[in-house]
């Protein structure tokens, strides 16, 4: 199909050059580098054993669940700094109704998702109505939500942590959607044929794949589909790239942005649901700084801070790098104090690389 759409001025550009035009390239290359680095430094430490892989994938998955919708929001030209506080708030919204008011877990979950989506949409509404930078509006939400979380929790429970969710959740119909593991059958089989190591007691070293990893992959695929294959995706690119042009052509820019703010808030609620049901408790400080980590993952993934360009797959690589580095530093025994230095440096390098890639893409005449 593509051959008859080109003309003779198109040379067959090399694969490398074509890849340079993709936003994910930097993150994919970075992922390979980071894996290679830790394969050398931490090869024997167990980082790349089945157990180690699941460990870093779980870290990546949590961040990746946030990063995919945050990527779409940033491509549409907006920030959401309230993601981290939203996680803490959502956790409390699940825990308090279940523990103190006797609601079933599934009802608390629905309540939490609905309220978070509404708050996200409100963030978006304020941004598009006032025309204020989303940075400022959501910075306000960051503090308001954290304060609300702390105030409500202490007011109702007298403490800053609510535990005891696990016992209530055991028989809940929605529990297995957010906690527990899947694919225990295939994992046992892989262990039997020797791919996955066994523990001393003869059981496989891992019992399955945590459900958060499935959410991560599913959400990334969904966001990628939405961005590249739907009308809404076209609007996302246009809303971030040239909002006035988009508006003049009849694209509902405001609606697009509000929807993405709500989606981001929903991702924060999903993050919280997984965290609360896996750990069995909620804490007012949960999710602190997650907004920045998500932005770092998205930026490493090749999305422009100015909007209009980027990908959800890139954000997935960004989250993967984040997880590998965090667990890699832990496994190699390097002082974990160095993690943040590394992370910040990664982001700056990624931004430099991305602006280079973009200027290349624009020059590819």
């Amino acid at each position: 199909m593509t051959t008859d759409l080109r003309d003779e001025r198109v040379r067959d550009v090399s694969l490398v050059k074509r890849l340079l035009g993709r936003p994910e390239l930097g993150a994919a290359a970075g992922t390979v580098l980071v894996f290679a680095f830790f394969a050398v430094v931490a090869g024997s430490s167990g980082l790349f054993s089945a157990k180690g892989i699941i460990n870093f994938l779980e870290v990546s998955a949590q961040l990746g669940i946030l990063a995919a919708p945050v990527a779409l929001l940033m491509i549409a030209g907006e920030f959401d700094l309230s993601v981290g506080s939203m996680i803490g708030f959502a956790g409390i919204l699940i825990a308090i109704p279940s523990v103190f008011w006797g609601w079933p877990i599934w009802l608390s979950l629905l309540f939490c998702f609905a309220l978070c989506a509404a708050i996200g949409a409100l963030n978006g509404l304020i941004v598009v109505r006032t025309g204020l930078p989303s940075f400022i509006v959501t910075l306000g939400s960051l503090f308001m939500l954290r304060g609300l979380t702390l105030g409500l929790t202490r007011g109702i429970s007298g403490r800053t942590q609510v535990s005891g969710v696990r016992d209530l959740a055991i028989n809940d119909p929605l529990n297995s959607l957010f906690s527990g593991q899947v694919f225990s059958g295939p994992v046992a089989w892989l262990s039997d044929i020797g791919v996955i190591a066994k523990r001393a007691d003869g059981l496989p070293s891992i019992s399955g794949v945590p459900v958060s990893i499935i959410w991560w992959i599913g959400l990334t695929l969904f966001c990628t589909w939405l961005l590249t294959r739907t009308r809404f995706g076209n609007w996302i690119f246009a809303a971030g790239g040239e909002p006035n042009a988009a508006r003049n052509l009849g694209v509902p820019v405001a609606r697009t942005k509000i929807t993405l703010f709500a989606m981001t808030a929903l991702a924060a609620a999903l993050f919280a649901a997984i965290q609360v049901l896996v750990t069995g408790s909620a804490d007012t400080l949960r999710g602190t700084q997650k907004e920045f980590e998500a932005i770092i993952a998205v930026v490493i993934g090749g999305t422009l801070l100015t909007g209009g360009y980027g990908s959800a797959i890139g954000a997935m690589f960004g989250a993967l790098i984040f997880g590998v580095v965090q667990m890699g530093i832990f496994y190699t025994g390097i002082d974990t104090d160095w993690f943040k230095l590394f992370l910040g440096a990664m982001m700056v390098i990624a931004v430099l690389f991305n602006s280079y890639v973009r200027s290349r893409a624009m020059r590819s005449r």
Binding site: L5, V10, R229, T230, N234, A238, G308, M362
Partner: protein, 265 residues
């Protein structure tokens, strides 16, 4: 006699105490290029906005297809087949040609909720439409940012025609372009005319206008200086009618006087 596609009859438009347009009469026939000439501040923008439904005239009439019309929004105007291509072109540089071509009017395939943007069809249609108008793209997937200024202008015009424009209002389409780029756009204007589309070509460049224009209306300080057919007016006369002509002659005289004074000193 053919009914004009659009017509303004003695239209006036005021902004507070400012007279932006005064008793301007203007019409556009199918398959003609009607050039609207004038210096900055002559009222060209106000006239475009009146024709495209952004402004409602304070006096006079706007007729579309011979009938009085009143547009509630720019979208109404589009539905009536009047498309305006403004200087910012309404293009998103980082998006592909095909995505820009269909922005806001994406072709869909599949069943809800799995309805998708039919990218293959968008690519094919955009490529074919542009090729039909003589614009050869390397690929419909190249970003608009990689196109030249003339190609961008052509893309915006081709898009308007594809979505059913019968009247094209082009706001200074060649002003920012070099000679070669401008000629690409001028060729496309002639092609649109051959398809029976009426083109209102706004410019302050008499040379560009005279090449493609059939009739010329000159605006000066909000008033029309009359409409001339190409056969009745030469390029130089046109140039003189515009503010530029007389002022350039004055300027030449001034410079000559200064040089004489210098030589004498």
């Amino acid at each position: 006699m053919t009914t004009p596609l659009v017509e303004l009859r003695a239209v006036s438009k005021y902004f507070g105490s400012v007279i932006a347009l005064k008793d301007v009469t203007f019409d556009l026939l199918p398959g003609e290029v009607h050039c609207l000439l004038g210096d900055n501040g002559a009222g060209k923008s106000t006239l475009i906005k009146t024709l495209s439904g952004v402004h409602v005239p304070d006096a006079g009439e706007l007729l579309v297809g011979g009938r009085p019309a009143r547009f509630a929004s720019p979208k109404d105007t589009l539905d009536a087949g009047i498309a305006t291509v403004y200087q910012d072109l309404a293009l998103v540089p980082l998006m592909s040609v095909a995505r820009n071509f269909f922005l806001g009017r994406e072709p869909l395939k599949g069943i809800w909720p799995f309805q998708q943007f039919d990218i293959d069809q968008a690519n094919r249609t955009a490529y074919r439409e542009l090729k039909d108008m003589g614009i050869e793209l390397r690929s419909p997937e190249q970003p608009v940012g990689t196109l030249s200024g003339g190609e961008r202008q052509c893309l915006a015009i081709a898009r308007a025609i594809h979505f059913g424009a019968k009247v094209l209002i082009l706001d200074e389409p060649t002003s920012a372009l070099g000679v070669h780029q401008a000629s690409i756009v001028l060729k496309l204007i002639v092609q649109s005319k051959a398809r029976g589309i009426g083109v209102i070509f706004i410019s302050h460049n008499v040379h560009h206008a005279y090449v493609v224009g059939d009739r010329f209306t000159i605006l000066k300080r909000g008033r029309s200086m009359g409409t001339q057919s190409k056969k009745d007016i030469s390029r130089d006369q046109l140039l003189n009618l515009m503010a530029g002509g007389k002022e350039l002659v004055d300027l030449e005289a001034e410079i000559a006087r200064l040089q004489r004074a210098k030589a004498g000193a």
